[in-house]
């Protein structure tokens, strides 16, 4: 199925199309395609009768929506207060210096992408990261290095 068809299919699910269903539609599209893109915005705009600029503006406002495709390994790094106090900062520094990866970015080879989130609600086990929904607790740069190495070798 092409991307456009998938988007059409998602739009079919909504019986009533107006700006109130915009966020759920974008959420569905993102979970289907991994990220948003121009095509999606144009299609949704046509169907919802909304200017694309408004959809783009909305999508860039919220943390959830991404326009860059996710990497093969999507790293969510918790930077809540607790994880921060326990050293989440050094993990961020490590990723930035070694993978040249900053929040919201994807590495050039598409292997890794990073999303810094605030509080995963697992404060005792911090610093917490999750990679593709798999949780890692008490991560320090040393441990992160091994995790990344293992993933790269796979």
């Amino acid at each position: 199925m092409s991307k456009a068809e998938k988007i059409e299919e998602i739009l079919e699910r909504y019986s009533y199309l107006d700006s109130k269903s915009l966020i759920p539609i974008l959420q569905d599209i993102q979970s289907e395609l991994g990220s948003l893109n121009e095509e999606a915005i144009v299609l949704v705009g046509q169907r919802l009768n909304l200017p694309t600029s408004k959809i783009y503006g909305l999508a860039t406002f919220y943390n959830q929506f991404k326009f860059e495709p996710k990497g093969k390994n999507h790293i969510c790094l918790c930077n809540g207060t607790s994880c921060r106090l326990k050293g989440a900062k050094w993990n961020m520094v490590y990723l930035e210096e070694n993978l040249k990866l900053k929040n919201g970015q994807t590495t050039r080879n598409g292997q890794f992408s990073l999303e810094v989130v605030t509080c995963m609600g697992a404060c005792d086990h911090g610093p917490v990261i999750s990679i593709n929904e798999e949780y890692y607790r008490e991560v320090d740069p040393e441990k992160l290095k091994h995790i990344i190495n293992d993933l790269t070798q796979e």
Partner: protein
């Protein structure tokens, strides 16, 4: 006057339902604002209009708070002034301070605020700005570094123009004003009307300058610079030269332009007359065969682009006659040049327009003859003023002059093209005259009600009823259009001007702080029309002469060749 409030320990009267700001302004107390716009809902974003209200913890924004009886307000207490000053300092910290080189130098609201609040110290060290200048549009230049995110352009584009090209992108300190996918303006849905430029408080949005080309042409001995000026300009520039607002300085402008170095100076109103005559022929023909009715006006290039983008199905309905600017351009190249035995390519045809979309129109490839653009370059009214000042011409001290032959006599309806409803009026007069050989006057016109916000009128001529509608500005256009096209009242002609009020309020006009000036401009044009003798384009002897001499009959072969054009669907990110 039924509420009493206390301001700075003095009692003032206020209307019930007024905002604090309105009450203050009515009583001659000015409070600085940045995001506030008349007729639009307050957004409360800039926080500069804050005042101290007794009993409130924090300062309140006067633009949004409604007055209450007995309210005690302090507008310039130390706390308030310090807050305002800090806010402006914060803006300046993030703003390039290259004022002397800025497009808006002297007209900048941020500059005014900084001066007003007496900011004399740079609290933050200079930093470099990396934002890219967007030069992609032929009409509008965006300089994101100078944007202070007041959101006025977004609101005017949304709420007044229904175009919604701009929106805030991202959030917090990373926020900026951008288009869909942060593309350049030429990929966006921008129609180039320039209303955003008028409301921008800083130099973040300004017109694409064509100043330099004109200066080059003026100093090039091989070229013959020719200029036309639009009908609405003569009533819009007076204040810029220290004259009474809305004074008609048409004749002074001709002299000034000659002094600057233009060989020939023409009045676009003449072309408007010719366009009206052609459109009348077109309309009568369409009415005869019933095709493509109602006919849309096409003299507003922003509107034409709007149709091409959003309503490609309606393109056949657009009048195929070029806009007055292009008609004049085409006649200069093809008729005037031949008459005066001038080599075509030697003519450098400049037009001065109140509009930024005209800059785009002049570049359209449909608007060429024999590979040459009908109009070489377009200056906005503001550029004209700058040009006159640059050449050191004292408008108040020069003699009035007349435009050059063969475009030197216009009807007063040609002038009407500068205001909303003008082209409809002009067209009605020609249609009526054509069918009855009589003058159309007010008594023969009946008003028609269709939908609020749209004026409409009808008249009878030779047993046929003609109904014309006038759409003033694009506000709510997406809901108005279907009613006009498929409603109960069968319309024959729909005039649409993208800018509210028409060209007198065009995106290229001098910056004004109050819409009172726009009303004065409109009034001036109506007064000209009322005062003059030749009210109908068809009765303009010059038009007749041009047809006899060159064009032949209306809608004829030559007209089709030189005065008609075509439009096509445009793919942009809507």
């Amino acid at each position: 006057m039924n509420i009493t409030i206390e301001v700075n320990n003095r009692t003032i009267q206020a209307h019930k339902g007024d905002t604090i700001l309105e009450a203050l302004n009515r009583n001659g107390i000015r409070v600085p604002t940045l995001c506030n716009m008349t007729n639009l809902t307050p957004s409360g974003a800039c926080r500069l209009c804050v005042v101290e209200v007794e009993g409130r913890d924090t300062l309140v924004t006067s633009c949004s708070h409604i007055v209450e009886n007995g309210m005690r307000v302090m507008t310039h207490s130390p706390r308030v002034v310090r807050a305002r000053k800090t806010l402006v300092e914060l803006l300046l910290a993030n703003h390039p301070d290259d004022c002397l080189y800025c497009e808006r130098n002297g007209f900048c609201e941020l500059q005014d605020l900084a001066a007003e609040l007496h900011i004399r110290e740079r609290k933050v060290l200079r930093k470099s700005f990396t934002q890219k200048l967007d030069l992609s549009s032929p009409s509008i230049v965006r300089d994101p570094a100078k944007c202070i995110l007041c959101g006025r352009c977004i609101r005017v584009c949304d709420e007044v123009q229904s175009v919604s090209t701009f929106e805030f992108v991202n959030r917090g300190c990373n926020m900026y004003v951008g288009t869909t996918m942060s593309r350049d303006l030429n990929f966006s849905s921008c129609i180039g009307c320039g209303q955003c430029v008028l409301v921008c408080p800083t130099g973040a949005l300004h017109e694409r300058q064509n100043f330099a080309e004109v200066m080059d042409a003026l100093s090039n001995p091989d070229l013959i610079p020719v200029v036309q000026i639009a009908p609405s300009i003569s009533v819009s520039v007076a204040t810029e030269f220290g004259l009474k607002a809305s004074k008609d300085v048409n004749k002074l402008l001709y002299n000034a332009l000659r002094k600057i170095g233009f060989k020939y100076v023409f009045d676009t109103a003449v072309a408007a007359d010719i366009a009206a005559v052609e459109m009348a022929a077109e309309l009568i023909a369409r009415k005869g065969n019933g095709n493509n009715l109602p006919m849309f006006s096409s003299c507003c290039p922003a509107w034409v682009k709007f149709v091409e983008q959003w309503y490609p199905d309606y393109i056949p309905a657009l009048s195929a006659v070029k806009s007055p600017q292009q008609v004049m351009g085409s006649l200069i190249r093809n008729y005037f040049a031949a008459e005066n035995e001038i080599n075509l390519s030697k003519i450098f045809s400049v037009s001065v327009m109140p509009c930024l979309a005209k800059k785009f129109e002049a570049q359209r490839e449909e608007m060429t003859t024999r590979g040459l653009s009908d109009v070489d370059t377009v200056l906005s009214t503001r550029e004209l003023v700058r040009l006159i000042k640059l050449y050191g011409i004292d408008i108040q001290g020069i003699e009035p002059q007349h435009p050059d032959k063969p475009f030197n006599i216009r009807s007063s309806s040609g002038k009407l093209f500068g205001i909303s409803g003008g082209s409809a009026e002009a067209l009605a007069r020609v249609v009526y005259h054509k069918l009855t050989s009589k003058e159309l006057n007010d008594s023969k016109i009946t008003e028609v009600k269709i939908i609020s916000g749209v004026k409409a009128f009808s008249f009878n001529a030779a047993g046929q009823t003609f109904t014309f509608a006038v759409v003033n500005g694009l506000k709510n256009i997406h809901s108005i259009l279907p009613v006009l096209m498929e409603g109960d009242v069968k319309l024959d002609y729909i005039e649409v001007m993208a800018c509210p009020g028409g060209c007198v309020n065009g995106g290229g006009q001098p910056y004004v702080h109050e819409d009172k000036y726009v009303k004065l401009r409109t009034k001036a044009i109506i007064e000209i029309d009322e005062a003059e003798g030749i009210k109908c384009a068809a009765r303009n002897p010059l038009v007749k002469a041009i047809y006899d001499d060159f064009l032949g009959e209306t809608g004829g072969e030559k007209s089709k060749k030189f005065l008609y054009t075509r439009y096509s669907k445009r793919e942009v990110l809507l």
